[in-house]
């Protein structure tokens, strides 16, 4: 039997993370792609940090930043009556930060492929930047946005280190599928771990096929060589 509460939790977490990251990531990716500000490179580096940082390090800092002793954690506890860490909301914040590059980078690659003169044409025709983004940039970068959504979703499903650090292992609240597998192995229940693993393996293959067919249809390498 698969551990359905863990699967449902993971899917919920991945879904909400993806929605939030598209809403935040589209303007951020557009700004990073088109800005002439020199300090944008620092922002870009920070966005990419989760790619190279060990998840436990990110998790540790989040635990410190969101924990009961921190100003944010204290404020949250006072406002809502429950702590931010070891909760779904805490997990969501961690997932958003951890998957940020997986949302932003494919969109940046796609946005960079848009002919700059189209943006200039839109500006000269009297349109503001949000209109240009919605009517010129996004329609030309649909494959990149779809890739970002798929990768964010998949990456969130599979995260482990950050989730364990920030969320702990509370069944139905913060126990995601990958923690479930770890638990099963710790309990020597290899059969259960195998069932969940094969489900995740199949899911991953389907995701990659989806990404590469999107890429092929757009005729442009939206992953631009950075996804292994």
């Amino acid at each position: 039997m698969l551990d359905w509460p863990s699967i449902v939790l993971s899917v919920q977490l991945a879904f909400v993370t993806t929605i939030v990251l598209l809403a935040v990531g589209i303007p951020l990716a557009a700004w990073l792609t088109f800005t002439r500000a020199r300090w944008a490179v620092a922002v870009e580096a920070i966005v990419a940090l989760p790619l190279v940082l060990p998840p436990t390090v990110l998790g540790y800092y989040l635990l410190v930043a969101l924990g009961a002793q921190s100003p944010v954690g204290r404020w949250w506890t006072e406002t809502t009556g429950s702590p931010l860490v070891f909760s779904f909301t805490g997990l969501l914040i961690a997932s958003i930060l951890y998957s940020l590059p997986f949302a932003v980078q494919p969109m940046m690659a796609a946005f960079a492929g848009i002919d700059r003169r189209l943006l200039e044409a839109s500006a000269v025709l009297g349109r503001r930047w949000p209109t240009t983004l919605a009517r010129v940039v996004l329609p030309g970068a649909r494959a990149g946005v779809a890739t970002a959504a798929v990768l964010t979703f998949a990456h969130t499903i599979g995260e482990f280190g950050v989730v364990l650090m920030v969320g702990g292992n509370i069944p139905g609240v913060t126990r995601t599928v990958s923690i479930d597998i770890y638990d099963d192995v710790q309990a020597f229940d290899y059969a259960a771990a195998g069932r969940t693993s094969i489900a995740l393996l199949a899911f991953s293959v389907i995701v990659l096929i989806a990404v590469y067919s999107l890429q092929r249809r757009s005729g442009r390498p939206v992953l631009a060589g950075w996804v292994k």
């Binding site: 002919d115 003169r117 200039e120 025709l125 349109r127 009517r135 010129v136 030309g140």
Partner: protein, 359 residues
Amino acid sequence: MTGVLAVDIHRHVVRARMDIDLSPGHVTVLFGPSGSGKTTILRAIAGLERIDAGRIAWDGETWDDGGRRVIPARARGVGLLFQDHALFPHMSVGANVGYGVTGVSREERAARVDAALRAVRAAHLSTRPTVHGLSGGEAQRIALARALAPRPRLLLLDEPLSALDSPTRLGLRTELRHILTSEGIPSIVVTHDRAEALALGDTAAVIIDGTIRQSGPVADVFDRPANADVAAVVGVETALPGRVVALDRGLAQVEVGPHVLTSVATAPLAVGEAVYVCVRAEDISLDVGPASAGASPRNHLRATVLATTQEGPLVRVTLDAGVQLVSAITRPSAEELQIAPGREVTAVIKSTSVHLIPR
């Protein structure tokens, strides 16, 4: 309402200062070789590039002062035609043309789109669901309609014809001049093509290495370069205003001053049409003695030598033939013909060497 666009642009190597005439339908040409900075000037006027220093002002309204004062491109009310049109690839023809028309009702918007498409004679393309599959000339018409539809107060055209194949370019050139003047919007055209400059412009500014070296009525600039640098850039052709008086079997008779010249009509022409008559100095040969009458289709013009200048192996001879002509001949033939100021000669021009640019 007539005013000027005062331009004083410092941007990288560009140091351009000029007042651009904003009379309705007036066409100013920025002419220069590629890399001379003319596109930078156009982009700075459009608001797509900031200037490092100087000022761009529309009748006292500062668009850019190189510092804090800047009006963004979207608020300048200019239309821009890109070299290779830059149409939105995912939109229909109608959506492209209507993109810049804002703040009006749906009906008004549709009416403006129709009017713009009619102005560029592309009404038959209005129902195309996509811009893919348009020919180069059609795409450029749609791009022009898109620039016209929001009713800009200034139209900027960056090498508007250079991306087109030769027959399309010739056809659209004359038509473009007509559209620009009849729409009543002042415009600035960037080009490196002298025929395009002559065909489209009322005034021209020659830009070399980022500075304006000569400006004035287009025929003056091209016919009387102020110095050797300008002459090298605008070419060594004579450009004389003329009028087509007869057309017969591919040959055009053109009245130029007191003369009627025969030319091979390469562009579509009509009797009575105003043209520029262009002849390269190398294509005007000189002869002494009486003009031999029957040797048509050669053109023979009696002329008096006004001046001569040595240019390497060539001698440049300025002639008065009722109109001013310049001939370039070799030094030995100049000696043989005893060319000197005051000498009476016959200028001989083959009809294939007389180029007509309609306007």
